[in-house]
Symmetry: C2
């Protein structure tokens, strides 16, 4: 009963064009996506999962039986799991600007026959949502039970609530903010700077060259620090290293285990991710502010019409819990339906990608409630 | 009564040699230092102030009347101030490996006639303390009332307590740890990587060249993020920027005010600091562990003989308050005299360089007690 979605595939659909917030158009535009479960006849049992910065459409299952790793939220999705494919039709797409099949800066610009690079237009979280909306309509979905995401995925979920409330029955926003904090912008700024100061970045025209490997790796190392917590590394690494003597440790090339881990994570991302996409998505996060161009922040929060569950993580220092609480508080003040639940975990921001067993009952409960299968929320 | 130390000068003394923990010698070795107030006849009214990463010996006063900025802890030092120059003889020296007059990687290696660069031996916090000890003896000091420092300065203060307890009447360790956490090592690792991936670093042989300006600036930008707090930037910058339209904001070159601030701070450090010194001091901090080579961490803490005041900052996420509390708890368990005081401030780690009026009564009180001028500590 409680199992995996099994073997899945990433599909693609191409639309004639999308008009962006910046005023430019991308034509045509392709979206890579995966779906699990079946859409019912009324088209109203869909759930939209929204991925974070370096994520992709591959939420659950495996592409090939021999794959070592399943999708990034696999334990959450499948028959009998919180995102229950016996009941719901689950959709996740790679974001606009991404490098996992959806049109982005590493895609070929039809006007030039070359990769867009930094000539790709600036995209925003709202643009991502608009492309998802096109996909959702294309799939015949009439109602989305929940738009669910963590971190950058949560930003999209919140924009969904503002932009398409008539399509949406609820929002689950995890470890995120309705506007990126200056602290978050600061970390994004140094990540970008790491990439753009690498001579191999070549102003973004590195396709066919080596590419800004060290710059992207450094950006990722910085990112990884912000996704974990002091306490998680105290437990996991402490000050351990593999040198037998102080003399070996006393060197500019010696590394503590925590350093080996960071370098490993940096190199790992370089193998799978496009540096320009990294720049575009960081910028989209910086520009994320649900009130931008709409009105006062707290008033815009109060305008959200969709029942909302905000999940904070007690050790997340990148998106501290006050940022999720303030959304719920504003909604409650406006007499809207909103819930806050705190995930207690040593893992920091990344806990939403790790603490499946803690999150499962909460998400199950909330989705059952939203789907009308239970009368009250109980957590 | 309550005033500045006025015009001061940095002095230098050169010793024939120093033997380092790594086994190598530096010969000769020069120390740059400043003193304020007068040493009494018994030589026992000295206080040692120990600077942080990018600090120097210039704690208080001005070098020239036209100087716009006074020393880095100026409001704390002078007649009637907590480090009262009517009562105490205050000493601060630039650390070994530094770039403000004390021998470091930018100094000329007498054996080659060229700057040491990365051939400078690896130094540790203990080496810094040993050189300070040589200076202290040279100045005729017989007893140090207090060794006081924040951040890297606090690491030195704690090592003083272990290494020269017979010289020391007390320790004040602020926003620091008795061993650098893996979280701290991680931030140092990305700072180093930023410098060393800059082609202008040239393996450390950049003297006479442009130098790794962008790399050092990036390292500093990363550092600055860790010295402040989410909440301080919410208040100070929020999401402010100077663009009138979204179109102007939607650009890879647009910057939020927080970004302008980071770039400004990065450039500012490049003008005043040596990149190789930055690398050596970060490594010294990484190697800092009061128990390294001595025994079990908590047992070594318990061996400290010197009365201690540890100050934590509630918003410091780089050196969280549990790190200062654990020192005090270990000492109390061993029936030693130890006090913990928490500085409440939005400014994060940097609060010890900002919150003078909050720290003053505590430090005054503690120093008076240590000097035998008051019978009890009262805070």
């Amino acid at each position: 009963m409680n199992g995996s979605v099994g073997i899945v595939e990433t599909k693609k659909v191409t639309f004639p064009e999308i008009t962006l917030e910046c005023g430019e158009k991308i034509a045509p535009v392709t979206v890579a996506y995966e779906t699990y479960g079946e859409l019912n006849e009324r088209g109203d049992n869909a759930i939209l999962i929204l991925h974070a910065l370096t994520g992709d459409a591959h939420v659950a299952g495996k592409h090939r039986p021999e794959d070592k790793v399943a999708g990034w939220w696999d334990p959450m999705v499948g028959p009998g799991r919180p995102f229950d494919t016996n009941k719901y039709f689950i959709v996740c797409s790679n974001v606009l600007g991404g490098c996992y099949g959806t049109t982005g800066p590493s895609s070929i610009n039809p006007a030039t026959g070359k990769p867009w690079g930094m000539s790709f237009p600036i995209i925003t979280i709202r643009d991502m949502v608009n492309l998802q909306y096109m996909l959702v309509r294309h799939l015949g979905i009439t109602k989305i039970l929940a738009a669910v995401g963590g971190s950058m995925g949560g930003m999209q979920a919140l924009e969904w609530a503002y932009m398409y409330p008539e399509m949406l029955k609820s929002v689950v926003a995890i470890a995120t903010s309705a506007r990126l904090s200056p602290f978050g912008i600061a970390f994004n700024a140094v990540g970008r700077e790491a990439i753009m100061t690498d001579p191999e970045w070549r102003g973004g025209n590195y396709y066919g060259f080596e590419g800004p490997k060290r710059g992207l790796a450094l950006a990722r190392m910085i990112g990884i620090i912000t996704y974990k917590s002091d306490i998680s590394w105290q437990y996991r690494f402490g000050r351990t290293h593999t040198y037998e003597t102080d003399q070996e440790l006393f060197s500019h090339t010696s590394r503590f285990e925590i350093e080996n881990y960071l370098y490993y994570q940096g190199d790992k991302l370089v193998k799978r991710f496009d540096a320009n996409t990294y720049l575009y998505l960081l910028k989209a996060m910086d520009l994320h502010d649900i009130s931008r161009g709409r009105g006062r922040y707290r008033e815009i929060l109060k305008e959200l019409k969709t029942p909302l569950l905000a999940i904070g993580i007690d050790t997340d220092f990148l998106y501290p819990t006050y940022q999720q609480k303030e959304i719920v508080e504003a909604l409650k003040e406006a007499k809207k339906e909103a819930y806050y639940w705190e995930l207690s975990s040593p893992h920091g921001h990344d806990a939403f990608l790790i603490e499946f067993s803690k999150m499962s009952p909460i998400l199950s409960n909330f989705l059952e409630y939203v789907a009308g299968r239970r009368a009250t929320i109980n957590f």
